[in-house]
Subunit: 321 residues, 5 copies
């Protein structure tokens, strides 16, 4: 579905153009075309391939969708695959945006995502001196918008981790902690898959031999790279912390079990003693003088209570009860 | 066993030729020969070595089979070992295809696998403009076909992992989860062995100094590399997830055991109390007034029941029962 | 908030100048300006951007604060983000200092931290032969001051680890050990985030192509790099040790539990034997000759005591009690 | 001990020569000398050093033996240390072979190993066209022979791992599994120490700047490198699998223990109920009507049996028994 | 404290000189000065700085002591920090030696260590042809001496590990094993800190651009590098083995506990059966015919013994007892 198809010159919008006119405008010097598609059909992609003379492999990758993020060069043009990540109902929803950038055009194809980039276009049109840098700057603006959307997701993951950490030393929460940590780990890995490959490939846009379309905007791409590095490092910390938290949680369960075992042992001991005593006086020997005493029974009960009491205090002191 | 032996010129099939004619056709400019063997005998390989002037070490590697995937250069020619991976009856079956590529020939030797590459040949012959790029493109087409077969295997492994994950927090499934995770880990490692070395060596086909036969098809080999990278990253995630899952599973077992211990402790406590009480009234003291009461017995039973009931409620409340 | 704004020439302080004069003084050959801000407002940063002609992206990064440490080059100028780390009430408090360095100026912006760098300025002014090396040396002096503040934090973390290690083999401290190890891990990770990225980027200041402002002070920056490497290596050791300590702690808990289980088993055994014996003599068979004996009761008690005693000694010997 | 000392020319054996003649033959153009020593004495090494003009450090390394595998260049000559690994009585036995290679000589010193390299010499002498490539090819042939001996060791380790894996889910085998896994790990690490450093250094023999003596045989050394890479990757997989297997084994022990605990709890519960019941009817209350009934006793026994039976069935159903 | 201050020419000792004469002798062509200090004071270091014209940062590092091992270049001179490691009373004692090397001088400063390098000086003076290579060779000789002292420490650590390994499968030694493994890990980490950074920096002395003072002795420094690599690899293996050993130890504890639990369960079962039986015959029903039989009592005892015996044999068979 076509969202926009606009021609720009010297940083200013010329006019909305028809798809068929694209190749004409591409021939006008100093003019560049910026097209945005949503969930493009094969026919639309094919049309774009013709108008912009895109590389067939790039178009194929865009059509297959569900690609790993990457930035590939095809001659003078650049093809970028980025993932759109969003938190919805405690689940990560993944979209994709593919960007084809040439010296005088930008084509973005958004898939499985409702959040458009109209804000990017508006911002670019408000700042003609930046837009006049051409396709490279638009490419940066799109990347920047995509990467900016990773931050709130990262924040939610960090908040979730902190919430779990508050529970980690609380007795009886081990099972739910483990479940939440495992679910968190999965989301973190999903975000990692969106960020890490993109980060690696973004490095190629500002250092070493830089694609021609990005040559004037290197410092901007380094800024994007810095952001991605920041996110990636935070993700690694979360992963590392989840690993430790699972280990710690296991320790806590073992400690709790150990405490229960001790308590069980203590009570079992106290009652075993009482049972042994009452058993003794339940024996049927003919000659058991204490059984004949007037106060034998209350004295026996008191003796049992006393022994149990002493045991109780000793266990209490030893921290078993 | 010979499958095909065809000479091509300018992207079009000339004709099926006899093995003995190969060296003759190799001398015709603009002509290239594409031979496919299946489970080749030593004699066949030796014949091929003579016709194509292959390097003895490459032929030896092909004969030994069970090689690690790799792409080696011998002067102007390239020798590639790739593993064919397939899911059969919940087990990975491994085959191998060795490809010898020269400036004007491609020789593929398939071992221990029933899935041929006739589709690749048909596709190439349908697109003369691509086939006319020569041996490099055929090499790409074969690699692409091999790599494409890794995806369904990867999907099955991911599905298996998801199935296990659904069981991971269900009580009583720990043993089967562990067994399935361990079996999955083995399959994942087998796929990793097919993918990772191939990925590393494929990098040499599109960046830096590229073998001459691949020089025109660099973008295609990068595409293969991207796919392998994608698969490899997915494998690493599965491995990482299996590791975490085993750890989590261990935690769940420990938690379950802890719960059983608590329940055991609770019931043991309740019955220990009852046993101690009945033991008391089983003692043989002469003077035990309550034994003489008319309703002593039912009152005693009620008292025991009451105490046990109170304990039961407290344990219930504490979550032990 | 402006802290200082001073112009220097040939290593000596010329005079405090007004913010508006900065751009004038920058044009005087051999003169350089050193400005220090605290929790700068957007307006102040904007003013600085104009006077020093700073890059908008650097200013934006400084304004957003909470950046990952980094050292970026913008043409001939350098922009550094460093974290200020301090121990306060057993918690790490994090501040930030951003430094803009040009050929003839240094601008430092300190955020969320009360510890200023007046000492650095005083030290520089005391050593004109060093200060006359210009902005690069001031940059080094600031970095050195920041890095020097990491050492006491590292020492506190190492001390805390040693304190925990003294507890690790002491029974009954497992729970608090785990909690302290987990808290320590979090602080260590925070310090790591301050140190590791800075270390990586500092490498760019002394080897390979060095930014022009740092060219005369390479050996000084290598010294900073050495210190950061030292801290980073110590952090990695602490992390590794924490990991091992958690594992060891888990082992200790399991061992303790195992000992408790053994003791429980031993006492349970002793009392089970006693209970079984007294039960036997509590049976109501008509013909039980021993019950009729005069000394049957004391002999029975002695027999029980003897058997229990033997068991007790055997368990003692086996290390179960 | 001298094994062989032979001079070759143009790929053919000239004759066995005396040690003293070595330096004379080295001066004959196109002639090269191949000497094999076994457990050389210091005097023998010193003699060799003089005849071949070996570097003192290399000779010292060879004398000290127990070196890490390595390949060092000394000017135009190469010094290689390789470990000979062999399975003997379920233990790895380690030998060492040091090879000094110059433009026109090869000296091999074998230590602590009975398996000589006569086969290598025989094979080389059978193929004059290869032997005429000179010292580099002999060096390759020796390396190839050493590396080929790693494969059966690797196979035995893999077989041992498979044997353990078959036991891993069998109850009651945990202790022996752990012991065998630990012993296997040690052997694997020993093989790793033989393979990994050699692999790294072999890389220097075929890519980048290659030592002059190896220059004509690069493809052969790459083949050795491929084999070492293969072995190394297999070792890493075994290590990884051992790690997982230990973890899984621990899980199995915990699961088994959990099952035992459950069974214990179930039987304890059944008997506790029975004991409480019989205790009730063992009380001495005057008025306990059921005790007076004619069929009280069998009814009571039946009641107890019934209750226990119900419990038994419920536990059975819950999988505890 | 000054240990030695000697001038050498052409590999031979000229004479002991006074500190004040150093700068004079440095000007004599072909002459070099070798000074050894022990626990130098700030004044001594300052004096040295003047005489040798050392870099202030290097002197500062030497004064601060407790540095990470490193090798830094300052123009044509080299500054090396090495740690002296020694086993004393089962503890690692750490010293430090700092070496300043210039084209015609070597200054070594030893701290916190009683083991001097007189042997190194004696050895150098015995071999004038090596000593005449100048400061680089002396530097190598010092490094070699330092590194040679790591080997006995490594041996002790390996012996300790083997001692622990012999205990690892012995019951009841888990606690002491864990404590010893943890203590060993700490010592291993300390040795690692001495070795790993030195190894990394030593690489710079023999490959790539080599400092001028080391240029003639590259093969010697590679030899040192080989030794450090060997030690480092052995350390990594020890670490890895410790990790596995801790894991295995935990498994053994769990297995032992599991065995204890089983035995407990078995004995508890046997006695529970006996107790239930005697309880039955302790009931007070009026009509219990077996109680009236003449041989009821011995028959009952035999029956109980029989049942317990059967249980005992079954548990024995199942491996629980």
């Amino acid at each position: 579905m076509l969202i926009n198809c606009v021609a720009y010159q010297e940083g200013k919008k010329l006019k909305d153009i028809a798809i068929e006119e694209i190749s004409d405008y591409l021939e006008i010097p100093g003019c560049f075309v910026w097209v945005a598609l949503l969930d493009a059909t094969l026919a639309e992609l094919e049309k774009m391939r013709e108008e912009f003379d895109l590389h067939p492999l790039a178009v194929e990758d865009s059509w297959q969708s569900h690609q790993r993020p990457k930035i590939d060069e095809y001659g003078d043009s650049v093809f970028a695959v980025m993932q759109l990540v969003k938190m919805a109902d405690d689940e990560l929803s993944l979209g994709e945006v593919d960007v084809f950038v040439g010296l005088n055009y930008v084509l973005s194809v958004r898939n499985r995502s409702n959040d458009g980039f109209l804000g990017v276009r508006a911002r670019c049109e408000r700042e003609p001196h930046l837009l006049s840098q051409g396709a490279g700057f638009v490419f940066y603006a799109l990347m920047d918008a995509v990467v900016d959307r990773y931050f709130p997701v990262l924040d939610e993951l960090e908040t979730e981790l902190e919430n779990i950490e508050e529970q980690i030393f609380i007795k009886g929460s081990a099972r739910s902690n483990i479940e939440r940590l495992y679910a968190l780990k999965r989301k973190v890995m999903a975000l990692k898959h969106a960020v890490a490959p993109l980060m690696e490939d973004t490095g190629k846009l500002y250092r070493g031999r830089v694609p021609r379309v990005c040559a004037n905007s290197q410092e901007y791409f380094r800024d994007v790279f810095d952001h991605l590095t920041h996110i990636n490092a935070s993700i690694d910390t979360i992963r590392d912390t989840i690993g430790t938290a699972i280990q710690v949680n296991l320790s806590m369960v073992t400690i709790e079990e150990s405490e229960v075992t001790k308590r069980l042992a203590a009570w079992a001991g106290i009652f075993a003693v009482a049972t042994a005593f009452v058993g003794i006086w339940g024996m049927n020997f003919d000659v058991m003088p204490e059984l004949r005493l007037k106060y034998g029974y209350p004295v026996a009960l008191s003796a049992i209570a006393l022994v149990c009491g002493i045991l109780y205090r000793r266990f209490k002191k030893a921290g078993w009860l």
